[in-house]
Amino acid sequence: MTSGQKTLDQHTVSDEIIRCDVIIIGGGPAGLAAAIELKRLGVADILILEREKEPGGILRQCIHDGFGLQRFHESLSGPEYAARFIDQAKELGIECLTDTSVLEITPDKKVITASRQGLTTYQARAVVLAMGCRERTREAICIPGSRLAGVYTAGVAQAYINLKNIMIGQTAVILGSGDIGLIMARRLTLEGAQVKAVFELQPHANGLPRNIAQCLNDFGIPLLLSHTVTRIHGKNRLEGVTVSQVDENLRPITGTQEYYACDTLIISVGLIPENELSEMAGVTLDPRTNGPLVDEHCQTTVKGIFAAGNVLIVHDLVDFVSLEAERLAAAVAVYLENDGVPAVDDRANDTSDKSRPATDCPLNAPAANCISIEPDRSIGFTVPQYVSGRKDFLLSMRVRNPHKNCTVVLQQGSTVIAETSLRKAIPAEMIQIPVRSADLVSREKITVVLKYE
């Protein structure tokens, strides 16, 4: 039984397989920038697959300004930043299929999509994963209370208000001082809701100082650090929350409970890279980032599959996402020319225990042709996690806690190969350190240590 033949532009929808040089999954900032750079480098056969009706990714709903300060020296809104790339992609004739979802992807880079026009199977030579991330939910952090109307993650609240023209509540509290929560504090206030407070579990704020100033301080919205919501009240629609202070182990302190009456609870407690398709393709994830293990080419553990943007690591500046995607494009172009840039650690010899669930999988030791990068506990993770040692590369990382006057030191054994001093380091701001391959002294692992008072 086969479906009928229908043409969608130049693609034929049927049982046949359509060959494509590069398939980019996700038409957000990472996917768009990668596509444009690839085209610029002479790769013509590119296809972007986007599940929404329009490209732009999460930027579509980020109507506030602050995007593009680094790249364009302008303070643009999210949709404007995206439009720069969307327009350029159109001009370059890059094909972007919208309203198209990826049903399946295999390690040998077969991609099956579904759209109103039908199911299509592609065979790509290279795949770029650019699916972005999803939000951590109330459920995942187990707040006691009933399940009811009125609890929204910040991104969902933002989509309702900015895209769907729907107002979600009148009095709100926000759990989590991540940037999206802060942005929504302002947005809700501007739309006439009363935002009573923002509660942050950690003893430090998680969002950018600019947002603390312009989303909270401007409106007199208090930020209560070392606080968390310990109970949700109400049976059908939220009526209020109980908030407690927490101790140094982030456990609620008995006796500190306070009740806040509200009809809306916004949850902004973290982003998780959206890697279901990555795992389907056999890509190994780093449990520290929840994103793929990659080398300096942004190539994953599967040859020819690359990743950039929030699917790889949660970024705070979209300008950096665009740069990362452009570096990825350069690597993909080389890959296509040479029919391969070696994958991180040739998994042919993978001896990891496949009977254990993926959630439990430890980082495996790399093969001989890769240098692993090991951050200490103050840093937690880096991207890339492995490098060839033959190229200069940019190392991205975040500190786990705020520090003043600290130094990030990269070493091989006892030899310092790079270091950066920072007057101030906060978790909200990604740190990027350029490393020259000429400075590497051996094939030994690179340790990344944070030195602070």
Binding site: P144, T153, K164, N236, A358
Partner: protein, 486 residues
């Protein structure tokens, strides 16, 4: 305004709907009065969804009888009603000599109840059946199965409805008057005069019984909390795995149960509570669930939790008494033609069809039931795109492009399925109603991606203003209005 019926069923849950369907085999004008806006709002939508074998029930009890009977015939019902069902088997695991004695007693009881195939097994056999479950030995029950309890209840209701039963949502029964040979059932939206009243009001069956002059019973709400674990763990739990039950506790112990959808349930806990509608999850229990669950399933971790939910057992025994009381299914001379079903907790789901037949038999003893020649036992559910072969999927999209639009990414639910869920035969129109019919919003992102699109579709298709969109019950408004007026 009074509507006249032969039979009024109070409560549209699995028991009420099974009875309604059974009644529709005969020429009886039947209506179901459901206080909520959809079926599955209370206990029927909040359980472990297990088809029990019957070894947990006291020999000679109605629970044992209906459980074993309901278990045996289920493939047929699942086929007729298009309900996802897997006869997975189950292991009850033990670690020490006390457990072993408990298991032997359990097997004994099961044998006496007529449960086929129960066997005590060792670790070697356990390794073959469920290698990732901890335990030194176990009892294996081959007849235990898992089903989709939402779809089952919905299917019963839809089939009953198709065969002529009228469903009235938002019809809470506020009083029943007994005059001569009939009853007048009072609701906020009108009166219903009827010959028969069947009380399947679950948690509130004692209240309804009270309206029928039967104040002998009290329902003690006993809450059970559950966690749902990510479907990534599916390969590691092929069948339900329970610890040996403790007779004094009010539930079956904290167990691990795979769902037909591939997720895993940990729970339920058991805690007597004050209010019948307090569905809160609580902190101490949540900690306990993981701790206890991990004892038999080491992969149970807090990081794999995608959702929590609670159910409330309508128990006939108080906290002090503990244990179970048998099902109460009775008709009294003082109130003839009123059948009360009280305390239908586990294994109510498993025993639902035999219970329904039993009740209809009770009616049949007093009346001459004429067969409805138009009765059609078959009900077709919403086709699940995700489970079809690629060829079938291709063909579906070709015939209906709405199948090509994936709205719920995590569970691969298409626009066609969501539209079918919105336009369901019973007319239920809440966000939860769409969820339980289509599986949308049940995945790991919990609607993070699709909820906005589904809410928009619901408003569009049912012509709702934003403030009319409900999550589950009447007061669960999702939105306050528009950002900019139209």
């Amino acid at each position: 305004m009074t509507q006249k019926y032969d039979v009024i069923v109070i409560g549209g849950g699995v028991i009420g709907s099974a009875i309604a369907r059974e009644l529709s085999r005969y020429k009886l004008k039947t209506a179901v009065l459901e206080k909520e806006l959809d079926v599955c709002t209370e206990t029927s939508g909040r359980n472990s969804a297990v088809l029990h074998a019957g070894f947990n029930n006291k020999p000679g009890s109605l629970m044992a009888k209906f459980c074993v009977e309901g278990n045996a015939g289920f493939e047929k019902a699942a086929r007729e009603l298009d309900v996802p069902f897997k006869r997975t088997g189950k292991v009850v695991v033990g670690f020490d000599t006390e457990d072993l004695a408990g298991l032997k007693a359990l097997k004994d009881q099961g044998d006496r109840n007529g449960c086929p195939g129960l066997e005590l097994i060792d670790r070697t056999r356990l390794d073959e059946l469920a290698p990732h479950i901890a335990g030194e030995f176990a009892m294996f029950s081959p007849m235990t199965g898992i089903l989709n309890s939402f779809i089952y209840t919905i299917a019963l209701a839809e089939n009953a409805h198709r065969n002529g039963v009228n469903y009235f949502f938002d019809h809470k029964v506020t009083g029943i008057d007994h005059t001569n040979n009939s009853y007048t059932v009072r609701t906020p939206h009108g009166l219903f005069r009827t010959r028969w009243v069947i009380n399947c009001a679950g948690l509130y069956s004692d209240i309804i019984a009270g309206m029928l002059g039967n104040t002998d019973y009290t329902i003690y709400p006993c809450r059970g909390e559950y966690f749902i674990l990510d479907r990534k763990l599916e390969p590691f739990l092929p069948m339900p795995a329970y610890p040996v039950p403790n007779a004094r506790a009010g539930g079956l112990g904290i167990h691990l149960t795979p769902t037909v959808d591939g997720t895993i349930l940990i729970g339920p806990s058991a805690e007597y509570i004050e209010q019948k509608d307090d569905y809160s999850s609580t902190c101490p229990v949540m900690d306990l669930l993981i701790e206890d669950g991990a004892r038999i399933f080491p992969y149970a971790k807090a990081s794999s939790i995608i959702r929590s939910y609670t159910g409330i057992r309508p128990k006939l025994v108080s906290k002090n008494k503990g244990g179970y009381a048998d099902f109460v299914i009775e008709e009294r001379d003082t109130f003839p033609q009123a059948i009360n079903l009280i305390g239908i907790e586990s294994p109510g789901l498993t025993g639902s069809l035999p219970i329904a037949r039993y009740v209809v038999e009770m009616i049949g003893r007093k009346e001459d039931l004429k067969v409805n020649p138009d009765f059609d036992p078959y009900r077709q559910g919403i086709l699940c795109f995700k489970e079809q072969t690629r060829d079938m999927q291709r063909s579906l999209v070709h015939s209906n492009p709405d199948y090509g639009e994936i709205i719920c990414r995590c569970e691969t639910v298409t626009r066609a399925e969501i539209l079918a869920a919105i336009h369901n035969p019973l007319g239920a129109a809440t966000l939860s109603g769409i969820k339980i019919r289509s599986r949308a919003m049940m995945g790991r992102c919990q609607g993070g991606y699709c909820q906005t699109r589904i809410a928009e579709l619901l408003m569009q298709e049912k012509n709702l203003e934003p403030q009319e969109v409900l999550y589950l019950r009447k007061d669960s408004r999702m939105f306050t209005g528009r950002v900019r007026d139209l």
